[in-house]
Subunit: 313 residues, 2 copies
Amino acid sequence: MIRLDTELVGKMEEAFTSLVEKEMTMPPIMRVDVPDHNGEVDIKSAYIKGEDSFAVKLSSGFFNNPAIGLPSANGLMILINSRTGEPLAVLADEGRLTDLRTAAAGAVAAKYGSRDNSRIAGILGSGSQARLQLQALMLVRPIEQVFVYGRNDEKAFNFKQVMEQKTGLHLTVCDSVEQVVGKSDLVVTTTPSKEPLIYGDWVRPGLHITAMGSDAEHKQELDATVMGKADVIVCDVKDQSARLGELRSSPEQQERAIELGEVTSGKHSFRQSDEEITICDLTGTGVQDTAIARHVYHRLLAWEGVKDERREV
Amino acid sequence: MIRLDTELVGKMEEAFTSLVEKEMTMPPIMRVDVPDHNGEVDIKSAYIKGEDSFAVKLSSGFFNNPAIGLPSANGLMILINSRTGEPLAVLADEGRLTDLRTAAAGAVAAKYGSRDNSRIAGILGSGSQARLQLQALMLVRPIEQVFVYGRNDEKAFNFKQVMEQKTGLHLTVCDSVEQVVGKSDLVVTTTPSKEPLIYGDWVRPGLHITAMGSDAEHKQELDATVMGKADVIVCDVKDQSARLGELRSSPEQQERAIELGEVTSGKHSFRQSDEEITICDLTGTGVQDTAIARHVYHRLLAWEGVKDERREV
């Protein structure tokens, strides 16, 4: 019922614009650690003033799960009536909506950051988010060829097989990150890496990188030398990127970094020439969760032919 | 299915004991403000190491609701598998479980703080929590008579009528807080007051007060003179009481205050003689939510005859 499509990408653009243009309540992420089971639950929320509903999202990562055949990620969203506090819906999506809104944000980043004529995509990582990010790029750029690198060879070749089937594109599995970066017009990093994957020496003029893997204090995908070489650095939320994202390891870049909402709202430009090197760091925001939960809810109402009879107060 | 009974009171005792005896994760309360509709959503959670599930609770207060015939409070709880992060249950209780666990904590406070032979209860406030607190007291003390004060006369008389029917006790509506305090062996304050209701001059030896109204920076029920006169001050969580409860207005008492879990675990005594004046300040904790959510879930499993087939990992 809900898909990664241009409508969803449009909803994410609006969400990022809201972040800089509208009054909103977006408290810091609440984290419940479950250390003895190598797990954590993150709770995010954002209320945009004037909107008739908002979401509270639980997303969990339990990293012993794969060993027993379960995905590490799970979660659900609760949509709340902004006027009365009544729960409108519990979306038991098992984290699928988080995956979709994250991928859609990748499309927004590529739309503003990469060259219009980007035809060659590089993907680091070969998990479910890697698949979605490639599909997201295809919504905004004329992708023809894909280079992929994953630490696990078997998973990387499986990614190639599945995505060739799904997209009709030709995919090449590379031996190194450097190869992927050297061949691509735009690169998306989707790994849980704790050390830099991309170094400044490998980066040619015109490249765009979207780094969406790092969302915690111990993660990093981009070396400080890449950050230093970038002409423009954009992130979803500056404070959060400085705490959990790529800006954390490159504090000297924090001042010049701008927010994606400043780009989508037209306040700042992102890429200004084909030669610039551009980076977008995404850590994930509650306002994206509210946007996708509202989108799903309205689709559900339409789907069921339910007239939205919410109390007019 | 779930009632205010001695079993639930026992669960709350265990929860408070866990707070001081067990390793746990209990992050600070997350608050989402919805200022244009005079509302807020609070999110609480606590994971006790070793327990196979824990709760995340949303509770909302939307204070324009009564004007349109809706209760201001609402909420739900999500019980999560501690091993895998999978949601086990969504308890759409509309805040009822919060009411029950709050009342049960009142019983714990009275059990340790009030005189064994307390027969006369004083209740400040006449809302749903006032009703529950009276029922909670009756579980732990031989209550025979009740004095009540509420700002709204009509509501106070309604309280008298309903509770006389429900309990078989004789209730008297008083003209002032001072009257209630002067006549009672133990007093429970259940109001959203922003100014002190009880002053030190009114307090006789032997009195116990449980203050459960204040749970926010702008609320207060006890004047600093009462706090000063108390021989023992107990609170659920010291940091939280100092931020949101009665300790906030009496910072000079913070050092000597002890936590309810130190009492239930036997580390500290509460009341030691019939002459002491004792106070217990309750602000509400995530560990109580986890305790009641687990209690309900296990009852549900038993109720449905469902054998608990959770994966043994």
